[in-house]
Symmetry: C2
Subunit: 175 residues, 2 copies
Amino acid sequence: MSRVDKSAIVRAAEEVVREKGARKLTLDAVAAQCGLSKGGLIHHFRTKQSLLKAMLESAIAREDAGAAACATAGGNLVVSRLSSIFELMEDDEGLPRSLIAAVAEDPALLEPVKVKEAQLRNEISSSYNDPELAQLLILAAQGMFFGRVLGVMEQGDPMLDRLRERLFTLSADLT
Amino acid sequence: MSRVDKSAIVRAAEEVVREKGARKLTLDAVAAQCGLSKGGLIHHFRTKQSLLKAMLESAIAREDAGAAACATAGGNLVVSRLSSIFELMEDDEGLPRSLIAAVAEDPALLEPVKVKEAQLRNEISSSYNDPELAQLLILAAQGMFFGRVLGVMEQGDPMLDRLRERLFTLSADLT
DNA sequence: GTTAAGATACCGACCAGCCGGTTGGTTTGT
DNA sequence: ACAAACCAACCGGCTGGTCGGTATCTTAAC
C-alpha cells in the first residue's frame, strides 16, 4: 500500500486552494501539503489536469451527497437541490471560486458536471407539471451561488436571506 | 497621438482571448495582435492586471449600453436587463468565459461589477412592489448565463428557449 | 523461513519553456 | 529641443513534467 492515497492528495489540493488561491495551486505546493515529493505526487496523478479532474469529481460527489441527504429527509427534488446549493455557498470559502476559475479555463473538466446537470433536468421534466418554473427556481439559486462565490454579492446583505426564503416558499408550492 | 489607442489594445486583447482562450492571454500575444512590441504595449498598460481591468470595464460598458438601448425602447427595468444578459449570451463565444476565469482568480477586478450590481438592486427595490421576485428573475437569467457560458448547458437545447420565454412573460407581469 | 525477483511507491535534482516586467535606446510628433 | 510613443533584447522567477535512482511491499519458489 501507500502512505497516502488519492483522496488524501485531493484533500491536500483543496487545502492549498483554500489557503493560497487557485493561482497558487501548484504541484509543488500540493506535494508539500500532503508530505510528498513532487515525484511522488506525479506518480499518483500523471498530470495536473488529472488532479483538477479528481478535485472536480470530489466536489460533485459532495454536493450530490448533500442533496441526497436532504431528499431522504423529505424534501422534494427542487427543495433538496436548493438546499445543497445554499449549503455549498455557506461552508467553503474560496474553493468553489477556484474551481470555477479552473473550469472556466479548461472546459474539458466540465464533462462530469454536464452529465449531472442533464440528469437533473430530466428528472425535473418528468416530476413536475410545471418543469420550467422548477428549472427557473434552481437557476436563480445558481445565479445567487455564482454572485456570492465570485464576490459580487455581499454575504451580510439581508436581501440575500429574503431571496433564499422566497425561493423555498416558491418551491414548496410546486407540484 | 499614437498609432494605437487603449481601446484598440483592449479589442486586440479580446480577440486573443476569443481565439486562444484565457490561459493564452499573454502580453506578447496581445502586443502581436495589435501590431505592437511588448514594450509599446506596456507603455499603455503598465501591468497586465490593468489591462484585465480595462477589459472588464469595457465589457460592463457594453452590457450597460445594451440595457439602456432596450430601456429606451420601452422595456421596464427587469426586461431590459434580461435582454442585455441574453444578448451577451448569444454574441460573444469565449470572451465571457475567459473574463469569468480572470475574475475568479483575482477578486479585485470585481469592484466595478459590484457597484453596478448594487446600483441595479437599489433601483429594483424602489421600482417594483415585489422587488424580491424581480431580483429572482434576474438571478435566474444570470444562472442561465453562467450555465451557458461555462458550457454546462447545450445551446441547442429547446428547453433554453422555453425558459427564456417564460422569464420574459413573468417579468412582463411585474408591477 | 528465507530469499530472489518483480512491482509499486516514492524521492529530489534537474530541465525547458513561458511570461510579466525592465531597460536603454530610437523614432515620431509638436 | 522635449516629450511621448515605441522597440527589442534581456532577465528572473515560476511551474509542469522528466529521470535515474532508492525504499518498501508482494509473490512465490526453494
